[in-house]
Symmetry: D2
Subunit: 345 residues, 4 copies
């Protein structure tokens, strides 16, 4: 039985890790930290756990938590993970960081969008935890940077087309829409029910921190530097990201051929589904699951492809993908505890 | 491996049966009928099943479906089940009916609220499938009438207090609120998004068909005829029923004593949770699960109890309870495939 | 042109006052205070005012605001109004308080539910601003205590039945459901979108501060002390309160007779509508308006009445009623600027 | 007093016309037709009108309705308006058609997307009723084709940039998101609450009927044939369209310069608001109003503009714009009865 510690577990990604790991046959959560809620049962904060677990939040140091666990998930805000990750790695633990602290390979880019990195050596060592791109590296990693939610949806949408050189990288537009849980559980006015319900807007136009992360990975896939337009929007719903991606074709391709190309790439992936022609993904079809649904269309009149991808931002966009990475790192079956079926309606 | 047939499986209760049974280790769904969608893959109607099952709707007669399955779930509208149930029972199948056709013991009452019953002999044979009240009878039954969703929430809220004679049965008021999935998937104006969203109303005041079903079971529990006031309301959300139940105390009782009384009754129940003092259930804490959460308070100023119960109308209020009954009828562990953790947020 | 000042105007009731008063032909808002947002245009906080008004929040003292206005609305949190009201009254202004500070006539009851009152003399002078009960008093008042939102819905539902002595006051149960805007705009976890959406629960069972206010007014109407059971619930929608009220009849009465009784009382009221038999109110039909819709049913089997009332908690439950009171106090037509038609869907 | 007839008034655009026209000081609705609801009071279908109007649906022929009214709104499904419009025009009435029947100038294009046109002569005579582009023509028209909702949002977003030749017309991408009321009130499965709530998806990718209408008007503005990529999405909310528009710049332009360009064009428009730099529109800020809010950004890294426009699909996208057109046609002040302030929250 693998012992798991969750560092900073009171937010929605911590909640989602608990939801998944309580049903994982190979692990036991032995430590769950929160300064704010220390001493309280998890089921006081999230009554859905009533009768399912007695676990309480503890206020443990990284060293203490390392002493209790073999695998560590860091579910802290950006900036905190790089402060504590060295302790976990030094103790020989397998570490999965759900924050942005180890996602960017370029320290200058990181400093531009966040602040000066305090663990630059560790950053080099971190593996970018998108199994569909880096499965083998993840298996050998001791520090995995779990991708951002928007990023996961954008890269899975674009990877096959970019790698096969069928689209022009300079024409990529990613129009993304996310549910409110992506903003976390901080009590801020912008996340209040009345501010969000019956509303819809773009935010951080031209300036979302996920842009450099998307561009980093798309550049690797394209073999050249890629700059995109990325616009995030806030949906009045709990869970889900839909990304609508546009790009110009470099050669003539039918929708059927494009679908075949994607199925060749993703055919064996446990969590990616390429939909039939004329079908387009709905975030409600992946709610609560680790799946990514992808729909494809070629607009022959404008010679553009339109790629639609849907994920659950808390699962494939965060905690589910983190467990997927843990499974790979620990030699378990990749989909262990991740066989959820979407809750609809 | 038990073979399961679902008769009339295109609605939300059929969908929910599939969601649960696909993860049930002891059964296989061998037949799923729908006249309307015959020939189509389930995943066309509900894209969440994409890549998870190849099952297609068939248009099989009861006799044909009986030939393919050991256990039959009937998820048809009221009135159809009694027409086809005789064929299933005659073929020696274990049958669970999710409609109202076999829930009422009194044929006259049934005729008043529905229409003349066409299988009166079978009605006498049917067991009322609320395991918390009739577990032993369900184990031996071949025809189980799965309770209504409102009814389940009301009876679980009231059973301990009525049986222990601490409340006056003539004072019971059940004020219930249900999510929209309780209305099914029929395309009617009243179920349209724009008619329901940002709205809230009572409906069928004094005239909901669940009233006689609630009264039937409460009368058994009270050992006397019980008449209640029952008001259903429509909530602008997908899943969940919250019932707020009021009754006058027959003797002095503190909230702590009331909670203890309920815990004595429900302590070993796998799916009922009695919350601590001061905690009251939220439908979002049981969403997607077979749990019933119950909160209790004594209002000493008015000498009334207030009992709050929350269930997911599609799970404990329909398909989850149906699987619970199947597990009991088939000698399986009662909670097999029912260990879901609520999806929140 | 009457000059209006709003003290503490950055919350939802302040917003709603501005929405109504900008279309009021007889008044001009000359001062709008907020310590937090001072100096900022109202349209920065609420972009819906873009291009409609240039007004900015100022951080004015009560004395300063009094110097700028003839009528003062106090839209501050409970406890603050009683600190500043004396200054407004001393300056000879007409004052309407939207908080609870002047609603309770009994200082001990106030102290029990809130804290020691610091302006007890003023409390005696305040008129309870429910025009349907106290129209003539409001016309002459210089300090009006605007009723609570739940209270307005409960009293309008019960007043005719209580006054005409057709129900037993000891049997009253008020089961109320409110939209989230009733909780205001404070950034607290419980009001976050993800905590509320797809959820429904009761809160403050047996302990909501509106209970004594409801009982105070019902006691006046009944001519005897009345104690009720009152349970508030939180609806996943922006605006609206529906109260479902139960009480036992003291004499035999048909639904038609009950409706007639209510229409006799409310027939000339500009904002109360008694629905036809079989119709029950929906909060979406009064959204954005100052109306109260009332539906009535007699349950002959249990000899109880069921009364349903719907209001918009921010309009008839707060700012609309406040403007209605201002109109009365200033000798204007009572419905000036209050002729909104509900926004549906 | 201008007499107004509404032909086909039981849907949401008919409802919205009634909501606006009941508060219009210069008109009276003298006829409201519906075959389905004939004889019933409007307030039975939409209880929000309780006590506000006694009008009932009638089943009048075009000739009969023409005899009762000076101005006719046609709020019928596509295909019906062209059958009845000739009668209204022949009777000398001013006619505003809210359907698509008279929006396309090219009969072949119309036939491709709809079916053969049965009133081709009238089509030539119709004026495209977007006042921001065709105000003077509308004033003189007797038949106005009220623009589509998506179209209005797209054209208002693009008109200044296209006319001033600052963007490359071949690079335009319109990613639009609409609330559910845009689908009307037909009881279809896809519009059910449970199918939409907590979901988000694109639909009619590459094939929405609004595409040719957008392209027609953009081509006029650009002075050359324009082909765009247009993707509509369905938002889980009642009202509102947000369009996110991308295009490549033909010359270097700062965001500030772009905003100035738009303000020069729209500065005197009563219903278009160009937001300050860094502000982006939210559909909740225009809910229930005839406003269009526009936000602008230049992405210097990719040399693209991002234009965001928000409208209420039932108001500026349908009935509000129709009343705006009526005001122009009748020589009334353009914003009469259209001074609504958004209902938020």
């Amino acid at each position: 039985m693998i012992r798991v510690g969750i560092y900073g577990g009171s937010g929605y990604t911590g909640l989602e890790l608990m939801r998944i790991l309580l049903r994982h046959p190979g692990v036991q959560v032995t430590g769950l930290t929160s300064r704010k809620f220390k001493g309280q049962p998890l089921s006081d904060t999230y009554p859905l756990f009533e009768g399912l677990t007695d676990i309480r939040f503890i206020d443990a140091s990284p060293e203490e938590l390392a002493g209790m666990a073999d695998v560590i998930f860091m579910a802290t805000p950006h900036g905190e993970a790089m402060a504590v990750a060295p302790a976990f790695v030094a103790a020989g633990k397998k570490v999965i960081d759900l924050s942005a602290d180890f996602r960017l390979r370029d320290l200058d880019v990181f400093a531009t969008w966040y602040h000066k990195h305090t663990a630059p050596e560790l950053m080099k060592r971190a593996v970018y935890g998108l199994p569909e791109l880096y499965r083998e590296e993840v298996k050998k990693a001791d520090l995995v940077a779990n991708p951002g939610c928007y990023v996961t949806s954008a890269i899975l949408a674009l990877a096959p087309a970019l790698r096969e050189r069928v689209i022009d990288p300079s024409t990529i537009i990613v129009d993304s829409k996310s549910g409110v849980s992506g903003a976390g559980r901080d009590p801020v006015i912008g996340s209040l029910f009345c501010e969000v319900d019956e509303g819809f807007k773009a935010y951080k136009v031209n300036g979302h921190r996920h842009s450099p992360e998307i561009e980093q990975e798309l550049s690797v896939l394209a073999g050249q530097e890629v700059k995109i337009s990325f616009t995030p929007h806030l949906l009045p719903l709990n869970r889900g990201i839909l990304s609508t991606v546009y790009a110009s074709l470099k050669k003539t391709l039918s929708t059927a051929e494009l679908i075949e190309l994607y199925r060749n790439v993703y055919g064996n992936e446990p969590f990616v589904r390429v939909l039939n022609r004329g079908n387009y993904p709905n975030v409600s079809s992946v709610k609560g699951t680790n799946f990514c649904h992808i729909g494809l269309a070629v607009d022959e009149r404008t010679n553009r492809v339109i790629i639609l991808s849907a994920i659950d931002n808390l699962v494939k966009g965060a905690s589910g993908q983190a467990v997927q990475n843990m499974n790979l790192m620990c030699g378990l079956r990749e989909d262990t505890a991740l066989d959820m079926i979407a809750l609809f309606p």
